[in-house]
């Protein structure tokens, strides 16, 4: 998948969970990605983050720790 598209999709998820109450938003982003993204996509996201993860929402960065 084109990196910009992946970043866009991941950030959309982050934006939703940021609006939710509680202090577990990063976990919920991670859980959503685990539930819906196929391993190949998660792998691409991890690799992208390892490369600096430019443009990704901070919540996605934090979520990546538990991916």
């Amino acid at each position: 998948m084109a990196p910009e598209k992946m970043v866009h999709m991941a950030n959309q998820i982050a934006v939703f969970f940021r609006s939710q109450p509680g202090d577990d938003q990063a976990e919920r982003v991670a859980a959503h990605i685990k539930d819906f993204w196929e391993p190949r996509m998660r792998e691409q996201l991890r690799a992208y983050i390892a490369d600096g993860g430019e443009g990704l929402d901070d919540l996605v960065h934090r979520a990546a720790l538990s991916l």
Partner: protein, 971 residues
């Protein structure tokens, strides 16, 4: 008449009533019926049919023909039995000398103005006038032909056959009106009309279109469609056929019956077009389908239908249908017709080779929302049990996946809460992002009937859909929001309900999580989320929004119906949650007349989702990560199930472009035409090494396919569809598959060519497997469906006959969950380059990508897709009605002709996507719903300008499509 198995579907004369029991005696038989029942219906209940012409049980009695007169002890005269309600102790005589004489006289008058051409009439054997002449014992007509409507020659002929022999030059009888054959499916022959007005009443009461009137008085009365200059086709008639069905004579007659003769047998089955899921009697002579008649015991449609289900079945026998399997090594070669064995061996060999080379997860399937539950179940099973991965998705991805997510999160179940009958108990209806008169016509007719009886309507849609104002229906509020601002509007409504304290605290305390409510209430109470602050953004006047919110909260039973205008957005799932919030806030859940009701696009969208088509869910919406759920299927199928979610359709295409996804089995879907960003879909398909298309026609996706497996139509197989109300309805084999195999058999043969060893001999066995593995289907069997007609899931120990209304005492998930819905603007924004917002939809006569309806006479109503544009936007661009215009977005460009209309507001343009040449999806982008990847079809920033005709891309595309459709026939 034709014999139908199962239920009695005699015409009882007048509609059923509910009321206290009333006991009376008719011709010596004692009968008990509900108060309000007519004497005619009561007589029919004991098998005594009173002669009748102007009455039929789909319409309120009218009492005009006087054929149904009876005598009642203690009453003077001879009252009409159709308009006389029963009373306790009444004693009725239906066959006295006196009434027999009256009836004979009435018939004699009718027949004196009717041609005696029965032997050659299209309705011969299916004509109530003929039947009644027999029933009353009419043996002679004593009147000599005088002034009449039937004799074109004006020479006193008694039959039209005779009149033709005597015909003078030119029109000789000024009262004679020639047949109107302008409608593609039926004719109107005024010379045979008895002016019973059943057609007029059917158009009003059943369909709600009011296209017909009775013109003139007395002997001069005529039925008229539209205004003086109109014929049927140019009038407001939407060709639903209700009038044709109601007509007792050959005056309104199906052309198919005129051509083929009266049917001799019938089979009850389910429409394969939209999510209403109407039941039909398919009426046949031998294996020739003569007519589709809506089935009056069908619980979704109650005897009504639209033009698609009733008339648009011609595609099943269209010459374009492919009946022989075909293969080719590469997509630039012509197709080669081969045997089934060769095609399946070729396909299986390629898929296995791809898996060996690129890995187990390099292939996948797409299930179809047009195929049966059983077929869909098998296709996802093919991926999970034979391919060994979860790469299964369905076109529901591109329409209602946010419904699954949003309602799952809030209520705990991925489905609508009501049955369609519920609308009869509604007081206030919100229709949001749906256009029922075009998309779900029979539901629209039922809704309009309720609106005419006084229910209030709120429409939330960028476009002024027909429901906003049509005959005898007017919305109390139309909120014409800017495309993409659904969440802001729905949240603003919650703001009004919370801040004005219009919410149902008792319900919320009893049924929902109170802490989550408090948080939600605080969130929506922020003035920034109120209608005044968001007006500039949404374009909805704050006062209107406030009034609408108040009406929904306080106007009695409130029901919300929504469609793809809600789901197909970046925030589709969020809007679904927002809708669920509104229903919980106002306590509008868990009883008739309320609820949250997604209107599903295709016939089996609900079913295909239920059956585990999604890559993360096994049948019954259970995530593949759950070991206990996997264990059920591992035990049933004897193979391990992958615990990781598979690829969704857009992900498959991305992975194909990326080189890790190489093979696809696509059943009954046309992703190249229906999915967004056509160029991206095309490059994904082009990158695959084995694309298997299983369909009726060489669709657009087949341009990129290596294997074509011919499909069967819904008329040619057994199975079930699940409609938008969770109703599981039987699809029955009406004729043998023209391609040789039902679709489930084809999937089974493909699986077996890959070594699966499946041995289903009938779809009933597949249903048994579904019931054994999926709790919501636990009690479903073909026996139950044959007995009940249909049932709504969940069907199990707690609800052995199904569940018409969900969440009655508690939510499926326990407590209802309020979820805050923060509005986030889509990244698809207008600007200097693309200043207009494009939104898309559908029209009545066409269905989805049009593969079926384009191959029927329905094309008469929609030859091409048009771009609706506001006159102001058109003027500044120098565009006039009918001009070719080019539509450009950041994804691509296409062209079509313009239609100037103020149905869309300034800044918004609208089109349909029924024709492949238009390629509306060339311009839609790859933005999608945040939770489910459901594409954002409903908002694309575009520019519109004059053009000379089709774009280069459209012409190249057409040329490529033609090249790729070449076929070399087998010897």
């Amino acid at each position: 008449m034709t014999a139908t198995m199962g239920l009695d579907d005699r015409d009882m004369g007048t509609p059923a009533r509910e009321g206290a029991p009333v006991r009376l005696t008719i011709d010596g038989f004692s009968v008990t019926v509900p108060a309000g029942t007519s004497v005619m219906r009561a007589a029919a209940e004991v098998g005594l049919s009173v002669p009748k012409l102007c009455a039929t049980d789909s319409l309120e009695a009218f009492g005009s023909c006087r054929l149904c007169v009876v005598e009642i002890d203690g009453r003077r005269g001879t009252p009409a039995s159709c308009t006389t309600p029963v009373t306790d102790g009444m004693v009725v005589h239906t066959q006295s000398e006196r009434v027999r004489k009256i009836r004979k006289g009435v018939m004699e008058l009718y027949v004196s103005d009717h041609p005696l051409d029965c032997l050659t009439c299209a309705a011969n054997g299916d004509c109530e006038l003929q039947d009644m002449a027999g029933a009353v014992g009419l043996r002679d007509v004593r009147y000599t032909p005088g002034e009449n409507h039937y004799d074109p020659s004006g020479t006193g002929a008694r039959s039209q056959a005779e009149a033709r022999l005597r015909m003078p030059e030119g029109e000789a009888n000024p009262r004679y009106i020639a047949k109107d054959a302008s409608n593609p499916y039926f004719t109107y022959d005024p010379s045979k009309c008895i002016v019973c007005s059943r057609c007029v009443r059917a158009c009003e009461e059943v369909q709600g279109t009011f296209a017909l009137t009775i013109e003139g008085r007395g002997f001069d009365s005529r039925v008229k469609a539209g205004a003086a200059s109109d014929d049927f086709f140019s009038s407001d008639c939407v060709s639903c056929g209700a009038c044709v069905q109601a007509c007792p004579t050959a005056t309104l007659q199906e052309k198919s019956v005129a051509a083929l003769g009266t049917p001799t047998r019938s089979v009850v089955t389910t429409c394969a077009y939209c999510g209403v899921g109407c039941s039909f009697k398919a009426e046949l002579a031998g294996d020739t389908l003569v007519r589709m008649e809506p089935y009056k015991h069908g619980k979704a449609n109650r005897g009504h239908s639209c033009v698609k289900g009733r008339f648009a079945y011609g595609y099943a026998s269209h010459k374009d249908r492919i009946l022989s399997p075909m293969i080719r090594d590469s997509v630039d070669e012509p197709w080669r017709e081969v045997s089934w064995d060769e095609a399946l061996t070729f396909a299986a060999g390629r898929l296995r080779a791809i898996q060996e080379r690129y890995g187990q997860k390099s292939i996948g399937v797409i299930t179809s929302s047009r195929c049966t539950n059983e077929e869909t179940f098998l296709v996802q099973k093919l991926a999970r049990a034979v391919f060994g991965n979860n790469n299964t998705d369905t076109c529901a991805r591109v329409c209602h996946s946010p419904t699954g997510y949003g309602l799952g999160q809030t209520f705990g179940t991925s489905a609508g809460t009501q049955d369609f009958d519920s609308v009869e108990h509604t007081d206030t209806v919100i229709v949001i992002g749906a256009n029922p008169t075009d998309g779900h016509p029979v539901f629209a007719s039922r809704l309009k009937k309720r609106l005419r009886a006084g229910a209030k309507l709120i429409v939330i849609d960028p476009r002024r859909i027909d429901l906003v104002r049509s005959a005898h229906v007017e919305a109390a509020h139309h909120l014409p929001l800017r495309p993409g601002t659904n969440v802001a509007v729905v949240t603003a409504m919650a703001h009004v309900i919370v801040t004005e304290r219009l919410y149902d605290e008792a319900f919320i305390r009893a049924r929902c999580d109170w802490d989550e409510f408090l948080h939600f209430a605080e969130f929506v109470s922020d003035p920034a989320r109120g209608p005044e602050e968001t007006e500039a953004l949404t374009g909805v006047p704050a006062a209107d929004l406030r009034a609408a919110a108040r009406l929904y909260a306080t106007g009695g039973n409130g029901a919300i119906y929504y469609g793809l205008g809600v789901t197909e957005h970046s925030q589709g799932s969020t809007t679904v949650m927002g809708i669920a919030n509104l229903a919980m806030l106002t306590g509008n859940i868990g009883r008739p007349g309320v609820g949250v009701n997604p209107l599903r696009g295709q016939n089996n969208v609900q079913g295909s989702c239920d059956m585990g088509s999604f890559p993360h869910e096994l049948p019954g919406y259970r995530h593949v990560k759950n070991a206990d759920v996997r264990a059920i299927f591992e035990a049933a199928w004897g193979v391990p199930i992958d615990p990781e979610p598979g690829l969704r359709i857009p992900n498959m295409l991305d992975a194909a472009v990326g080189g890790t996804f190489k093979g696809l089995y696509c059943q009954g879907e046309d992703i190249l035409q229906s999915d967004p960003d056509t160029k991206h879909v095309a490059s994904g398909l082009a990158a695959m090494e084995c694309v298997i298309v299983h369909d009726l026609f060489l669709n657009e996706t087949a341009n990129y396919a290596h294997v074509f497996l011919p499909g069967s139509t819904f008329l040619e197989k057994d199975g079930t569809f699940t409609n938008a109300e969770r109703r599981i309805n039987r699809v029955r084999e009406v004729m043998k598959p023209r391609n040789g195999y039902a679709d489930w058999e084809v999937t089974q043969r493909l699986a077996n060519a890959m070594g699966a060893g499946w041995s289903y001999t009938h779809p009933a066995e597949i249903m048994a497997e579904i019931a054994a593995t999926t709790p919501s289907f636990a009690g479903v069997s073909y026996e139950l469906l044959d007995e009940k007609g249909s049932v709504q899931w969940p069907v199990g120990d707690a609800s052995p006959e199904g569940t018409p209304i969900m969440h009655v005492d508690s939510f499926v998930r326990g407590r209802g969950r309020f979820i805050v819905t923060d509005y986030v603007a889509t990244d698809e924004r207008t600007g200097a380059r693309f200043p207009l917002l494009l939104t898309t939809g559908r029209i009545l006569s066409q269905y989805n990508v049009g593969a079926q309806t384009r191959r029927t006479e329905n094309v008469a109503w929609h030859e091409e897709d048009r771009l609706e544009i506001h006159p102001h936007d058109a003027e500044v661009r120098g565009i006039e009605d009918g001009d070719w215009v080019k539509l450009t977005s950041r994804a691509g460009e296409t062209s079509m002709r313009a239609l100037l209309t103020d149905r869309v507001g300034p800044g918004v343009v609208y089109t349909t996507f029924h024709h492949p040449r238009t390629q509306a999806n060339v311009i839609t982008t790859d933005f999608s719903d945040w939770a489910t990847n459901c594409p954002e079809y409903k908002v694309t920033a575009v520019q519109v300008g004059l053009s000379n005709g089709p774009t280069d891309w459209q012409e190249d595309y057409t040329a490529q499509a033609e090249r790729s459709r070449r076929i070399i026939a087998a010897e």
